[in-house]
C-alpha cells in the first residue's frame, strides 16, 4: 500500500490535470477579486463625482443605502462561495481525469495483477485522489488569503476570523474528501474519461433535480426524510460559515464518514471482481 501510494503521489505531481485544475481555480479567485476591486473603484468614483458635475436627481425612498462591495462580501463568504461552486466542480473534474486516465492509457495494468490485492489498488487511487483534491482546495484558500493581503492589506484578517475560518475549512475539507470518494467510486465503475467527466459534472451541477425527485418520491411514500440534508454536495453548499455548533459538526463528520466508508466498501466490492482492460 505504501509503495502504491508513493507511485500514486509521484503520478499526482506529474499529472497535467492536477495543475490545470489548480490553475483554473486560482485564476477564478484572482478574477473574482479583480472584479470586486473594479466594482469598488467604480463605486468610489461615482460617490466622489456625485453632485460635482451637472445636475443630480435623487428620489427619496425607504431603501437602505447600498454598502460598499467589500462590506457586502466578507472573506468567509468568498471562501464559502468558492468551496461550494468552482472548488467542488474542479475537484470532481480532477478526480475523474485522475482515475479514468489510468484506464484510458492502460497504465492500470502495470499495477493490477502484480502482486497487489485489488482492494489495495482501489484504496491507493482513492486516497491519492483525496490528497490531490485537498491540495487543490488549500491552494484556492491560499490564493484567497493572498489576495486579501495584497488587495485589502489584510484589514479583514483578524484572529477571530482565522478561528472561524479554521473551523469552516476543516469541515469543508472533510466534505471535499467524501465528495471525491463518491467521484472516484463512480469513475472506477465507468472507466471512460468522457463519461466520467460528464457524470461527475452533472452530479455536482444538477444534483438538486435528482434530490428533488427522490424527495418527492419519499413524500409520496409518506417517508419524512429530506435527502438534501445527507447528500455530500448539498452539505458543502449548506454548511454555515459562522456559529458552527456541535450538532453541525457532528452531522457533517458523521455523514462524511458514512459516504467515505460506503464508497470504499462498494468500490472494493465491485473492483475485486471487475475485469481490467
Amino acid at each position: 500500500m505504501i509503495n502504491l501510494m508513493r507511485g500514486e503521489l509521484y503520478k499526482l505531481f506529474k499529472s497535467k490535470c492536477f495543475y490545470v485544475c489548480s490553475i483554473v481555480l486560482v485564476s477564478f479567485v484572482l478574477l473574482m477579486y479583480g472584479m470586486f476591486s473594479l466594482v469598488d473603484m467604480v463605486d468610489k468614483e461615482e460617490a466622489a463625482m456625485a453632485g460635482n458635475v451637472g445636475i443630480t436627481v435623487s428620489v427619496e425612498t425607504n431603501m437602505p443605502e447600498e454598502l460598499p462591495i467589500w462590506e457586502q462580501m466578507g472573506v468567509i463568504d468568498l471562501v464559502q462561495m468558492m468551496f461550494s461552486s468552482m472548488g467542488s466542480l474542479l475537484i470532481a473534474i480532477f478526480a475523474s481525469v485522475f482515475v479514468c486516465s489510468e484506464y484510458t492509457c492502460g497504465a492500470i495494468k502495470n499495477i493490477v495483477g502484480k502482486g497487489y490485492g485489488r482492494g489495495t489498488v482501489f484504496l491507493s487511487k482513492y486516497f491519492s485522489s483525496i490528497v490531490g483534491a485537498i491540495l487543490i482546495e488549500l491552494l484556492m484558500l491560499g490564493t484567497i488569503l493572498m489576495c486579501e493581503l495584497l488587495i485589502l492589506h489584510g484589514n479583514r484578517l483578524s484572529g477571530e476570523f482565522f478561528a472561524a475560518l479554521a473551523e469552516y475549512v476543516a469541515i469543508q475539507l472533510m466534505l471535499a474528501a467524501a465528495q471525491t470518494g463518491v467521484i472516484v467510486m463512480l469513475n472506477q465503475f465507468l472507466r471512460s474519461l468522457g463519461a466520467g467527466i460528464a457524470v461527475s459534472v452533472c452530479l455536482i451541477m444538477f444534483y438538486p433535480i435528482v434530490t428533488a425527485v427522490i424527495n418527492a418520491l419519499l413524500q409520496y411514500l409518506k417517508v419524512t426524510i429530506n435527502v438534501n440534508k445527507y447528500w455530500v454536495v448539498d452539505m458543502i453548499s449548506e454548511c454555515p460559515t459562522t456559529n458552527i455548533t456541535g450538532k453541525i459538526w457532528g452531522h457533517n463528520v458523521l455523514w462524511s464518514m458514512v459516504w467515505i466508508v460506503l464508497t470504499i466498501a462498494v468500490g472494493i466490492l465491485h473492483y475485486r471482481k471487475a475485469d481490467v482492460k
Partner: protein, 303 residues
C-alpha cells in the same frame, strides 16, 4: 518437466459466449511459447486471466508450480494489448512510477532497464513523441522492471515496421538467452514467430487445439515424398507391389505424392530405378509454416 505455467480447463464466459473454453496449456521453463490464433480466438482473454487482469469462470491456473497466484504474479512481466504508459510523461517518469509502485530502491534501476531496451538516449523525451517501436520497447522495459522470470507478451510486434520487428525479436532472444526468461508470446506474424519460438500452442474458437515443439513443427510440415517420373503407371505399380504403398495421389501427369512410409525414401528410389523408371525429381515436400498454421487455425486468411 519444470513448468512455469500450467492451466487446467481454464474457461472464460462473456454472457453466452465462451471466449476461452477449457484451455489446458503447458509452458516449460526457458521456453519461448508462441501462442497462435485468429483475431477473437481467445488469446488475449487467456493471457489476461493468467496476468490477473480478468478472472476465470472455471479451471485452475498454476504459476511456478503454485496456485498462490497473487504471490507468484510478482515474478511475471506483462505487455498485453498495448503498453500502459502515460503519453504526457517522459520514458524516465513512466519508469519512476513503476519503480515506486514496486518499491524498488536501487538508485539506477531505471537507467539499467532503459539502457537494456535501448531507450536511455530518449529518456527525457515525452512518450507521445515516441515511434510505435519505441513505445513497445518502453512497454517491454516496464514488463522487465522487476526482473521477471516469465514474460507474457500479447502481439508485441503489431504495427511495427520490419526494422522495429527485428529490434523486438533480437531483444526477446537476448532476454531469453541472457536472462533465461520464459516467454509466452502471441503474434499474427507467423513467420516472425517461427524465428524465435521453441514451443507452440494453437487456439481456435477459444479452444487450445494443439501444443507442440518447434522440432515437431518441421516434421509435421514435411508430409509427403514427391516424385516426378517419366512413366507414372509403371512407377505406381512398383510402389504398390514392391513397397506396399497405397496412400498416394497423382496430382498431375508423371507426378506422384506418397503420404506414407516417408522414412523409406532410398528404397523407393532404388526400386523405381531397378524397375526401369527414370526419376526426374524426388524430395520430401510439405507445406510452408504459414500454410500449416493456417490449416490448424481453421483455414482462410488471418484477418
Amino acid at each position: 518437466m519444470d513448468y512455469v505455467l500450467t492451466t487446467d480447463n481454464v474457461t472464460k464466459v462473456y454472457g453466452k459466449h465462451r471466449a476461452v473454453n477449457r484451455v489446458s496449456m503447458h509452458v516449460e521453463k526457458g521456453a519461448i511459447y508462441g501462442f497462435i490464433g485468429k483475431n477473437g480466438a481467445g488469446k488475449t482473454t487467456f493471457m489476461r486471466m493468467v496476468a490477473g487482469l480478468a478472472a476465470a469462470n472455471e479451471g485452475n491456473i498454476t504459476l511456478f508450480g503454485s496456485t498462490e497466484l497473487e504471490k507468484q504474479r510478482k515474478r511475471i512481466g506483462t505487455l498485453i494489448e498495448n503498453a500502459g504508459i502515460y503519453a504526457n510523461m517522459s520514458a524516465k517518469d513512466n519508469l519512476e512510477i513503476v519503480k515506486r509502485n514496486f518499491g524498488i530502491t536501487e538508485k539506477n534501476a531505471v537507467e539499467e532497464v532503459l539502457k537494456f531496451v535501448g531507450l536511455w538516449e530518449s529518456r527525457k523525451k515525452k512518450v507521445k513523441n515516441f515511434s510505435m517501436g519505441m513505445k513497445q520497447r518502453l512497454g517491454l522495459a516496464i514488463a522487465l522492471f522487476r526482473n521477471p522470470d516469465f514474460l507474457i507478451l500479447d502481439e508485441p510486434i503489431n504495427g511495427l515496421d520490419p526494422e522495429g520487428i527485428k529490434e523486438i525479436r533480437d531483444l526477446l532472444l537476448k532476454m531469453n538467452h541472457e536472462k533465461g526468461i520464459t516467454i509466452l508470446i502471441s503474434s499474427h506474424i507467423l513467420g516472425e514467430l517461427s524465428k524465435i519460438a521453441t514451443h507452440y500452442g494453437i487456439i481456435r474458437d477459444g479452444e487450445l487445439v494443439d501444443e507442440f515443439k518447434a522440432e515437431e513443427l518441421q516434421e509435421r510440415c514435411a508430409r509427403c515424398q514427391k516424385l516426378v517420373v517419366d512413366n507414372e503407371n509403371l512407377a505406381v505399380n512398383i510402389l504398390e507391389e514392391k513397397l506396399g504403398i497405397t496412400n498416394y495421389d497423382v496430382p498431375q501427369t508423371n507426378t506422384i505424392r506418397v503420404f506414407e512410409k516417408l522414412d523409406m525414401q532410398e528404397e523407393m528410389n532404388r526400386e523405381l530405378i531397378l524397375g526401369g523408371v527414370n526419376i526426374r525429381e524426388s524430395y520430401l515436400a510439405g507445406q510452408d509454416l504459414e500454410g500449416y498454421f493456417m490449416e490448424l487455425l481453421g483455414g482462410g486468411s488471418n484477418d
